[in-house]
């Protein structure tokens, strides 16, 4: 095992580290702690946070890449592509591919075939799947019972894990509040804690039970069926989580510096700097974003085709295209935040405390960093959180127009794109779309609910 770090992996961990650092900084400032306390008391926000945390955990595990064999350097390119820790754990799902479509929980294939019979002839029937339900002797009679039994077993294991986690959390609360654990459990159960622990733990229970059942099922069945080339749909949709999270987070690497520097400069210095920056973002804004993204992606493709030797491995090429997409989305996305920051800075620079600082001889960059930046920071936070869900949705649309992530990258957009014509089949192949819908909807809904709570708490015009 030789660990390797993709560009997007590194940047994703950097984002997480910066978010962590930000949390530490904000914990020490009362004016930030107060709004966040409001967020932490909101049930929808905290339930969403549990869901987002689970997605994030999957994304992180999927971002630790390594070459599976030690002779990585020596082997031929392509034969030994790097895989992630998640691939390693889900190894079975990745490799257990059927011939073509199969329904969720199916034991038989989607299409009929000529099958050899015992007496040497042939019959026209549905063949058994290679992996799905292969442990059953007679699927007709055993399958439903087996699914139920496996599901209950998996749910039970998930529930057990949840019990351990819940007990641990209760013990932690009891220790930090110096109360007997019995009373803590009692209060959590009645929903009397300041943080909505009851709702959060119930969400976790749901996720644990559901996850446990799916995990147990997926050892013997294709829970979301298989796609055209027989690949497991559950595996694809889990892998898409990382792509969605990356698109939503890495974009900030471009948006934040551009919007902060230009927005503050335009509002604070005014004059020609303001004119120039306003001109810049009006021009960018007036170009239809889809077309700008399309143009940029076409250019990247041309560039990659020209410098083929620099993008030797398929995985590397797909990874860089994902990175470029994030950067390009960032380039089209910074203008809105920049305009907000400019307007707020224009207001702040006339306030007495800024005037006083200027009268005392504080330099411009000092005023900007110490007096203006902290006071516009809530706008930045709100905008980053609000943009996230929009970016996840945008990925799907862009992939449909073929200007999204690389076709080899697993993403919800690619899943929808390749499955959209399959509803027209008879019987319709609905499971790819269903899987993408469930996983994408959950993430976007959680992100939207969380963003609403953050905005309500941090925006001074909305608070109280």
């Amino acid at each position: 095992m030789i660990p390797t770090l993709f560009w997007t992996d590194g940047l994703f961990f950097l984002v997480l580290a910066m978010a962590g650092a930000l949390v530490l900084v904000m914990r020490r400032r009362e004016h930030f702690r107060r709004p966040w306390r409001t967020v932490s008391r909101s049930t929808p926000a905290m339930v969403s946070l549990v869901v987002i945390a689970v997605y994030l955990a999957v994304g992180i595990v999927d971002s630790v890449h390594f070459f599976p064999r030690a002779d990585a350097a020596g082997s031929a390119a392509g034969a030994n592509e790097p895989i992630s820790l998640l691939d390693h754990w889900l190894g079975g799902l990745r490799t257990r591919t059927e011939k073509t479509y199969s329904e969720p929980f199916a034991a038989y294939a989607y299409a009929k075939e000529h099958l050899p019979t015992a007496d040497g002839g042939q019959r026209w029937d549905y063949p058994r799947l290679t992996y799905g339900g292969a442990h059953l002797v007679d699927p007709e009679s055993e399958r439903v019972r087996d699914i139920a039994v496996t599901g209950v077993r998996g749910a039970g294991q998930g529930g057990l894990m949840w019990l351990i986690a819940a007990a641990g959390i209760a013990a932690l609360i009891a220790r930090s509040r110096r109360e007997p654990i019995g009373r803590v459990v009692h209060r959590v159960a009645r929903g009397q804690t300041p943080l909505p622990w009851r709702a959060m733990l119930l969400t976790l229970l749901l996720l644990c039970v559901g996850g446990g059942a799916i995990a147990e099922w997926s050892a013997h069945y294709h829970v979301f069926g298989t796609d055209k080339v027989g690949a497991d749909v559950l595996y694809q949709t889990i892998k898409s989580i990382r792509t969605g999270l990356l698109i939503g987070t890495l974009t900030t690497f471009v948006t934040l510096p551009l919007a902060l520097v230009l927005g503050l400069a335009a509002g604070y210095f005014r004059g020609w700097a303001d004119d120039l920056i306003q001109y810049l973002y009006t021009t960018l804004n007036s170009i239809p974003h889809v077309l700008l993204i399309a143009a940029a992606i076409l250019l990247t493709q041309v560039y990659m085709a020209k410098h083929e030797e620099a993008f030797a491995s398929l995985a590397l090429r797909a990874d860089l295209r994902l990175l470029f997409l994030c950067l390009i989305l960032g380039l089209t996305n910074w203008t809105g935040l920049c305009r907000l920051l400019r307007a707020e800075t224009l207001k702040l620079r006339e306030l007495e405390y800024v005037q006083a600082a200027r009268a005392l001889g504080v330099r411009d960059h000092g005023i900007l960093l110490r007096h203006i930046l902290p006071n516009v920071f809530h706008i930045v936070l709100i905008s980053v959180v609000l943009d996230f869900s929009g970016l996840v949705l945008a990925e799907a649309v862009l992939s449909y127009i073929n200007i999204g992530v690389d076709p080899t990258t697993e993403s919800w957009g690619n899943m929808i794109n390749s499955a959209r014509l399959e509803l027209a089949r008879e019987p319709p192949v609905w499971w790819s779309l269903a899987a993408a819908f469930v996983f994408m909807f959950t993430l976007v809904l959680a992100a939207n609910l969380f963003a609403d709570a953050v905005r309500d708490a941090l925006d001074p015009r909305r608070a109280e």
Binding site: S286, I287, P288, V302, I401, P428, L433
Partner: protein, 325 residues
């Protein structure tokens, strides 16, 4: 007023120039005509002659900005920038990389786009505004809470699912309307009704939420309290007093979109096979026809800038307090 308009029109010139230069840089400098030729003709086994011919047919074999070999004004005019980019200012779009006349294509394709985008916008705004007013009417009740929850849920569904689901439900299962296609004549409504419905439904989530915040800003103001105090019913207060005063932000959102109705909706048109400008653009992107993409970028930007201008003018029409200087 007219002085203001003239100034705004003049301000549009540097903007358009900026867009033009940006597209020129993107399409000809970063990505040279040689690359385009290789992309179009296939990467491998392309001889220099084939590339030269391809470039010559499309007029991409000229120098970028300054023609050393020419005489007099031809030094400026015999260049890619003059031939390909300056023409855009006069809406001379030239020929696509496949040799079609882009200007003629745009003129025929903008009508289907208008036919679908205009009713979508009008109906969408009407539905969203009415629903938002109803939500405000029932504010601080369970109806509002669940209405808003439903909006967040609707907002969290990708627009692709609305289209795919709508086509499957109405087109395939219920067989009410054709799944896709277009007809210019009297039968056009049969093809338009499904994309229309879907675009309205997919916009409800974010639309209602947006209009609701606008109305909530107004609903606590003094004039509303006065209207209630003199005994007007809540419905009357909302639909006449509040709605009229919230018109300014509503208009800003709509007027800027008006010129863009010409370019249509990318997703709807391509899913429903409507031969409008939206599907034209998507096809161009998928065939990597840079000439069309460039023209559409320029057209879209021009219309957007026009929309900004119209927004300013519409302010003065709805709100007599606004004076443009």
């Amino acid at each position: 007023m007219s002085a203001y308009l003239i100034r705004r029109l003049l301000y549009a010139v540097p903007l358009l120039l900026g867009v033009n230069i940006l597209t020129f840089l993107l399409f000809f400098v970063v990505n040279t005509p040689d690359d385009m030729a290789r992309m179009q003709l296939g990467q491998k086994r392309v001889g220099p002659e084939a590339i030269r011919d391809w470039k010559h047919e499309r007029g991409y074999d000229l120098p970028l900005l300054w023609n050393e070999g020419a005489e007099g004004t031809a030094q400026v005019t015999e260049t890619i920038f003059y031939q390909k980019s300056v023409g855009l200012f006069l809406f001379r779009f030239g020929r696509s990389d496949q040799g079609r006349d882009i200007g003629a294509d745009i003129r025929t394709r903008m009508w289907p786009s208008l036919a679908i985008a205009t009713p979508s916008l009008v109906l969408g705004v009407a539905v969203n505004v009415s629903l938002a007013l109803l939500v405000v009417l029932f504010r601080l009740t369970y109806l509002e809470f669940w209405g808003m929850a439903l909006c967040v849920a609707l907002m969290s569904v990708s627009s692709l699912f609305y289209i795919i689901g709508g086509q499957y439900l109405f087109g395939k299962l219920l067989q009410l309307v054709p799944i896709s296609g277009y007809d210019g004549g009297r039968d056009a409504w049969r093809f338009l009704i499904l994309p229309l419905t879907i675009s309205v439904i997919s916009g409800i989530g974010s639309g209602v939420r947006w209009y609701r915040t606008l109305f909530l800003d107004e609903v606590e103001k003094d004039y509303v309290r006065t209207a209630r105090a003199k005994g007007l019913g809540e419905l009357r207060v909302l639909f006449t007093h509040v709605l009229r005063n919230a018109l300014i932000p509503i208009l800003t959102g709509i007027v800027v979109l008006l010129p863009l109705l010409f370019t249509g909706s990318l997703l709807n048109e391509s899913f429903f096979a409507i031969p409008g400008l939206g599907s034209y653009t998507i096809d161009a992107i998928q065939q990597q026809d840079f000439a069309i993409v460039r023209s559409m970028v320029y057209l879209g930007s021009t219309l957007y800038i026009l929309g900004l201008l119209l927004t300013d003018i519409s302010y003065t029409l709805v709100d007599p307090r606004v004076r443009l200087h």
